[in-house]
Amino acid sequence: MSQVSMQSEPLDLKPLDEILSEYAGRTGTLITILQRAQEIYGYLPPEVLLHIAERGDIPLSQIYGVVTFYSQFYLTRRGKHIIRQCDGTACHVRGAGKIVDVVEHELNIVDGETTPDYKYSFEVVYCLGSCGLSPVAVIDDTVYGRLSPEKMAQMLKEMH
């Protein structure tokens, strides 16, 4: 079961209200609403899900089902930087596993986790569609190809 984390400080739900008003009365818009909500808050805290459920008269369990169904949605707060390292077939044979080790060692987190200071989130993914550049990682929407463990370590240092 996915973990739901409670946000400590109150969220500003105004921007969410604007989105909900935009889609009010239209069916089949849940995924879009969730995507846009996640753009605002970085993830989907329970308050946001509750608010969407309440305003849209959608059972919370259904929203929860959709959120857990798609890997694009997150129920826990994520880091400022998101590092996605590919470990698909091509990247794997060219040593992506070692790069994963470097990230896990440097940041002291494993696949799917976020550092306690909410600076980094790390995910291992399977194929980013750029096998020609393998091994590949995507850091904050920028693609980095032909990586090596050393290069990754260097990049992490520079990001600090």
Binding site: M1, V4, L49, E54, L60
Partner: protein, 828 residues
């Protein structure tokens, strides 16, 4: 009707167009195995168990979702079909644990049965099975995901049948799980129907867990003894203990079309309680001591005779409970009339007893059947939180709305828990409901429909006035009126808060006017129904358990007792110390009686004051008849014999009569019904032998149009809303409790164990109050504190307090004379 003819396994059958192959086969008596199919819900074709071979179709088809067509030739038992079904079962068993010997579902498990009939004897998969930790979803539902076969019957039952949507599927693919989202406002109502829907042992009942193997249980058809919805159920018992209650099944079916709420499923265990009274108790030297029935009868007869001879029959009163069986109530009436010769007979229709109101008599005269709700195009619910008071009537409303048959109009200051199923939600300010019905909806009808010109001329208010009084904008009234006017069948339901409203008379007149106006329309039939509170409230009403000529209602009896005019009171199954206003005053009145006799299951607050206490039997030990709110008389069958010396109420009443010298010659409840059929109009048809499994409707004359009359509502003004920290208090039965009996049910106490006061979110914000905070309710008569519950959709300026908690003397705060219950709310 269009029909199609098809052939299944060589047998030809003609079915209405739109019938599925599965249902056509069922009609032929051909069994097709299923898991995800649920007759009351849309088929989803998730389990692939119901595969059949259809000629000219390239692949096997799922019979649950394939509609029969003309000339279709179907085979349900070909090699191809059997191989596919065997394969499906083998797949399901990859992960399903073979823990049947310790599984509660063993013996009634659809996977077990289907595997036995259709499955492979051995599996070819020897990998590890997936493993989840078993966990409790809440106090009554335990989830063992290892056993789940993802048929989603529970999820669909919760969302589409009950309109709750608490259960959902999370994650995806082979990681899919059933789960509940916690922390939201959508909370489980603990109806337990997901447990009933589960074909395997994935969802099991915590109270029943590991109590018994299902095949050792004796099954007895019964009827729920809580609210007036008359839900049919099956008691599963071992010796003298109820272990489980289930929706009543049609023999041979796995799934029932009958449903129960939390009270029905989990509220039975008071029957098993050791605190039950087992012998008569007589007060000797100030102490209640066990005595024999002979001594009890002798003492009661002696006292009653003495009082009757000295002070006359009028100095004796009987208070009977609407929870009693029809037979019991009839004999109570007979005892009052024939033997005690007293007109003082009553039941607690309101905390003050019954009341006289012509509009009410007419509106309650011909109840709409609950089935009528499902075929009505417009359903109006007035003055009750139907999700709390009549959960199964609510289910029928949802069913109608789910099938796009009916549009729902609600008129109530608070939320009714009908969620997205309401088309027109009219929320008048508390105290202005009569205006919303009698002037708002009616006026809107005159503007949208061709109503009787004479009636129209009498309504000279404007919608603007009503809008101001009620806080509902005119277009809402007009839209609702349009729906009402356009409907062919209309059902109007009104509930307990109409009867307890400060302006009850005007409220009832307003409803009668609405009905009269609808009846004046040329099109459509209007049915109106009072939603009574208790299992046999309707029976008590129809039998006339009310004061006779110059007789006293309950409140009058208490006053007479205080004055010393009433000398004896016989309380049957009722607990006025908890259910009436000002318990202290009632206690003082009861204390003045020469003889107080109480007949009950437990030593209740009232019984503790009695001179003589008689132990009665519960619904599970009784051969009796209940009349549901819609007039359906249904029979109860005893599941086991009474505990020790407890006796059925009718038996005690007949014994008492005999002790007083009148032998009614009754040997069974059937004799009583024969007698009642002769004496009470409407009961002619109700012969025990004819009642059968499904019951019979009482014989109400049901004219096309009700004989309602236009009522002038004179000098009416809505209540002035309260301001600042003053609130109107609404005292209600919450979903988990009903009267004070349910307080003896362990599981219900777990679900709703402590009293609370409910406030609207708006008011909470205004007064800066938070959930769970202690607040004090204060009046001139007293004060007490309660934790706060905040609800989003509650009417402003109101507090809702459940009436079921004896430790909360809510009835102490108000005098009997006050109709409007105002309190001051203080934080802390």
């Amino acid at each position: 009707m269009n029909t199609v003819t098809l052939t299944i396994d060589g047998k030809t059958i003609t079915v209405p167009a739109g019938t599925t192959v599965l249902n056509a086969a069922k009609k032929l008596g051909i069994h097709i195995p299923i898991f995800c199919y649920h007759g009351e819900l849309e088929p989803i074709g998730a389990c692939r168990m119901c595969l059949v071979e259809i000629e000219k179709m390239p692949k096997l088809a799922i019979s649950c979702a394939t509609v029969a067509s003309e000339g279709m030739v179907v085979y349900t038992r070909t090699e191809k079909v059997l191989k596919a079904q065997k394969g499906m079962l083998e797949f399901l068993l990859i992960n399903h644990p073979l823990d049947c010997p310790v599984c509660d579902k063993g013996g009634e498990c659809e996977l077990q049965d289907n595997t036995f009939s259709f499955g492979p004897a051995a599996s070819r998969f020897d990998d590890l099975k997936r493993r989840y930790v078993k966990r409790d979803l809440n106090e009554v539902i335990r989830l063992d995901m290892n056993r789940c076969i993802m048929c989603r019957r529970c999820v669909r039952t919760c969302a589409d049948l009950h309109g709750e949507g608490v259960l959902g599927v999370v994650e995806r693919g082979f990681r899919s799980e059933i789960d509940m989202f916690k922390g939201g406002e959508t909370e489980c109502t603990y109806c337990g129907d997901c447990i009933e829907a589960c074909p395997v042992g994935a969802l099991t009942s915590i109270p029943f867990r590991f109590k018994a193997r299902v095949w050792e249980l004796k099954k007895t058809d019964s009827v729920c003894a809580y609210c007036a919805d008359g839900c049919r159920m099956t008691l599963e018992t071992r010796e003298q203990e109820i272990l489980r209650v289930r929706d009543r099944l049609t023999p041979g079916e796995y799934l029932s079309t009958e449903h129960l709420c939390s009270k029905g499923h989990f509220g039975f265990d008071y029957v098993n309680k050791p605190e039950r009274l087992r012998t008569p108790l007589l007060r000797k030297n100030g102490q209640l001591v066990p005595v024999s029935w002979e001594e009890a009868f002798e003492y009661a007869a002696k006292e009653l005779k003495r009082i009757k001879e000295v002070q006359g029959g009028k100095s004796i009163g009987i208070l009977a409970s609407p929870r009693l069986g029809t037979e019991d109530l009839f004999l109570a009436k007979k005892l009052a009339g024939d033997i005690l010769e007293t007109p003082n007979l009553d039941h607690l229709l309101t905390p003050l007893g019954t009341f006289e109101d012509d509009s009410f008599q007419r509106l309650a005269a011909h109840p709409a059947k609950l089935e009528d709700i499902e075929v009505a195009q417009a359903i109006v619910v007035i003055g009750t939180d139907i999700s709390q008071s009549n959960p199964l009537a609510r289910l029928r409303i949802i069913r109608s709305s789910y099938r796009n048959i009916g549009k729902v109009i609600t008129l109530y200051p608070h939320d009714m828990g009908l969620k997205g199923y309401v088309s027109h939600e009219l929320k008048p300010r508390f105290g202005s409901e009569p205006s919303a019905v009698g002037f708002g909806l009616t006026r809107a009808l005159t503007e949208t429909a061709p109503v009787n010109a004479e009636i129209k001329s009498r309504l000279n208010n404007t919608l603007e006035q009503v809008s101001q009084e009620t806080g509902i904008d005119a277009p809402f009234f007009l839209e609702a009126a349009k729906t009402l006017a356009g409907a062919e069948r209309r059902v109007i339901l009104f509930g307990r808060e109409v009867l307890s409203h400060p302006q009850r008379n005007e409220y009832l007149k307003a409803i009668e006017n609405l009905v009269t106006l609808l009846n004046s329309l040329e099109n459509g039939i209007t049915r109106v129904s009072w939603l009574p509170e208790y299992n046999n409230s309707r029976g008590a009403y129809d039998l006339g358990i009310k004061p006779g000529e110059k007789g006293l209602a309950f409140n009058g009896m208490m006053e007479a007792a205080t004055r010393g005019e009433l000398k004896a009171l016989y309380v049957i199954g009722e607990n006025p110390m908890v259910r009436g206003y000002c318990p202290e005053e009632i206690k003082a009145s009861l204390g003045k009686l020469d003889f107080l006799m109480v007949q009950d299951l437990f030593l209740t607050e009232t019984a503790q004051l009695a001179h003589l206490v008689l132990p009665a039997t519960s619904f599970a030990e009784k051969d009796s008849t209940y009349v549901a709110g819609d007039g359906l008389a249904q029979k109860l069958t005893p599941a086991f014999s009474p505990k020790e010396d407890a006796r059925a109420d009718w038996y005690i009443l007949a014994g008492l009569a005999q002790a007083m010298g009148t032998d009614w010659g009754l040997i069974s409840p059937a004799d009583i019904m024969t007698l009642a059929a002769k004496e009470i109009p409407g009961f002619q048809m109700i012969d025990n032998s004819k009642l059968g499994r499904d019951g019979l409707y009482l014989d109400y004359p049901t004219p096309e149009k009700l004989p309602t009359q236009w009522q002038e509502i004179h000098k009416y003004t809505p209540l002035v809303p309260l301001t600042d920290n003053r609130f109107d208090v609404i005292i209600e039965n919450n979903l988990f409790h009903s009267g004070s009996l349910s307080r003896y049910a362990t599981v219900l106490n777990k679900l709703s164990g402590a009293a609370y006061v409910q406030i609207s979110r708006m008011d909470a914000k205004r007064l800066n109050l938070s959930e769970g905070q202690k607040v004090t309710l204060s009046t001139a008569r007293g004060r007490f504190s309660l934790p706060l519950k905040i609800r989003k959709h509650q009417g402003a300026g109101t507090l809702i307090v459940p009436s079921n908690f004896t430790e909360v003397p809510i009835f102490n705060l108000f005098s009997k004379e006050e109709t409007r219950h105002q309190v001051e709310l203080i934080a802390g």
